[in-house]
Symmetry: C2
Subunit: 337 residues, 2 copies
């Protein structure tokens, strides 16, 4: 009997979808699960977009590294970014919290307040929620959004050979921040080099981004309006999420290493930690940047920068870097990491 760890997140989801088709297939004409997109679309094409995300204490956040409001904001950002990744504008957020009875009430109140703040930042409203007693703190958010009239939701399956691959938002900052926290925090890292103000600023920036990512909330609907052929948010790492687009679209996404060089901040943090910042850019998750493909020849949508192109068709999908297939893991997966 396989456990959920044996299967891993992706195979578990596939098994769930197969069973659901089995038990309901004959009875539901519009089963929407299993499209593999960031969010469900209702009815097919839109305008309503729905997504749910769960964060677990100790796996997705640590109370010694993040304030309650940070945890709530980060959970909300993950859900809202999924809605944006369908080309929609966020509308509403629901929040479900579990905690042991002995938990400081301020923890849950702070999480909810952080989620409400982040919803407001995305132009949405926290409209409801639920609390329940459980062994640990689990935060589940459901985000809804709406695709602008006249536009369709943008799936991850529409990338076509020749398209430009582009990204909006940060890559690798959250992963760099996590590395700083794992090394004891910004103060510990600069202890050997206390004179460096720019070092402290860089460390504080990435730690801040790990605690509260800043997804480009407006970029999704802008990309949809500009005719994006595919859209996804980078929640588990650029290569892993690019591979999802490649697989869903049946194409090769070839990334340009020159466009993926770590910026000054990441290079500085990398030097201080003696780590390669390029890895953060390629495999770091939780920044919730938007990865899009656009038809060739057009002007790039404001907020996006080109990072590669769709090199051709490939049945199973593939991601390459400068023409060389990337075989690494590429990011985080629940149950097997």
């Amino acid at each position: 009997v396989p456990t959920v760890s044996d299967l891993g997140e992706d195979h578990l989801v596939a098994a769930v979808l197969a069973r659901i088709r089995e038990v309901t297939g004959a009875r539901t004409g519009s089963l929407l699960v299993g499209n593999g997109d960031d969010a469900a679309v209702l009815p097919p094409g839109g305008p309503t977009v729905l997504s749910t995300d769960t964060l677990v204490e100790g796996v997705d956040f640590r109370h010694d590294w993040s304030s309650p409001a940070d945890v709530g904001a980060k959970a909300a950002a993950a859900g809202l970014a999924d809605v944006v990744a369908m080309g929609a504008r966020p509308e509403a957020l629901l929040l479900s919290l579990t905690a042991p009875g002995g938990t400081d009430a301020e923890l849950l109140i702070g999480i909810a307040a952080g989620a409400a703040e982040e919803a407001a930042r995305a132009g949405a409203v926290l409209v409801g929620g639920d609390v329940a007693a459980a062994a640990e703190v689990v935060v589940t958010v459901t985000a809804t959004g709406r695709v602008d009239a006249g536009l369709a939701a943008v799936p991850r399956s529409g990338a076509r050979p020749g398209d430009v691959v582009a990204v909006a938002g940060a890559l690798g900052e959250s992963a760099a921040g996590l590395a700083v926290l794992a090394a004891g925090g910004a103060r510990a890292v600069v202890a050997g080099d206390p004179g460096s103000g720019s070092a402290s600023a860089a460390l504080d920036l990435v730690v801040g981004r790990h605690r509260r990512p800043v997804p480009p909330y407006g970029a999704g609907s802008a990309a949809a309006a500009a005719g994006a052929t595919s859209l996804i948010d980078v929640s588990d790492g650029l290569v892993r999420d690019a591979r999802r687009v490649a697989t869903a679209s049946g194409v090769v996404l070839d990334l340009d290493p020159a466009a993926l060089g770590p910026d000054e901040t990441l290079r500085l943090v990398g030097r201080l930690l003696d780590e390669d910042p390029a890895g953060w850019v390629l495999t770091g998750g939780e920044d919730h940047a938007l990865l899009a493909t656009f038809p060739p020849g057009g002007r790039l949508t404001p907020g996006f920068r080109a990072i590669g192109r769709v090199a051709g068709r490939h049945p199973g999908g593939r991601v390459g870097i400068d023409g060389v297939p990337y075989e690494g893991r590429g990011g985080f997966t629940h149950f097997t990491d």
Copy 2:
């Protein structure tokens, strides 16, 4: 520093709402939380209705008493009934599951399949979800629905003096089934009286209803169309949920004991367990019956039966039984039970 147990579910939610108003009040013109209804309504009045519910292993379900599919169906029913309790038709369901890595994958697959089946029973579709590693099994569902064109969502705050109080669906069956399971199950209960076929049938029925409640999914939109002034689903017990309507509406709900007598099945189960079945009807939760108030003088909406009337105004709201205020607990609350 108060813990969540110190506050209890209702005060915790109130504290959360106060904080959210504090941090976002100035920035959001349409904050919808805190209306105290079963589901959020978007925009105010409708047509979209959203609700989220969380079930926790060991608190809300036990794997030795319910199959995985039962757990999924029950979680889905709780969420879908909340949507129905706004007068809406269920449309979509999202499912978030957490479990330890060593959990049998079949458990999560079965939960998802049961949720999908129940969604289909309610005329809705399971459209998406999430899985995450955690210390225990937590099931969070988000249900969405739509109020029919030309109608408004029905809140719990609209009951008026003179209205008829009516209910659709079962009361007390889930609680009776739980009592049977706590007594060792149907086989153990009838062991002393193995000749009784009707006893076995009654025990099996209530255990089945505890495992899979059968909310009256069509009754919500029917009540809205018939002009119901308030609507709520009985998830925590008739008296407790009636008190919520009374408080939100500022009225006295007076229930008629003659209309609340346990039926043949509950009386039989009560005799077998040596328990008073009237208590199950008044305080048993999880059947997800619909409690409505209707303007006086009209014909009762099909599926509903009258169980009392709105006796007058009362600032804080009150529930009486045959004119006598009911002061008992009246149902279940997270963290303090």
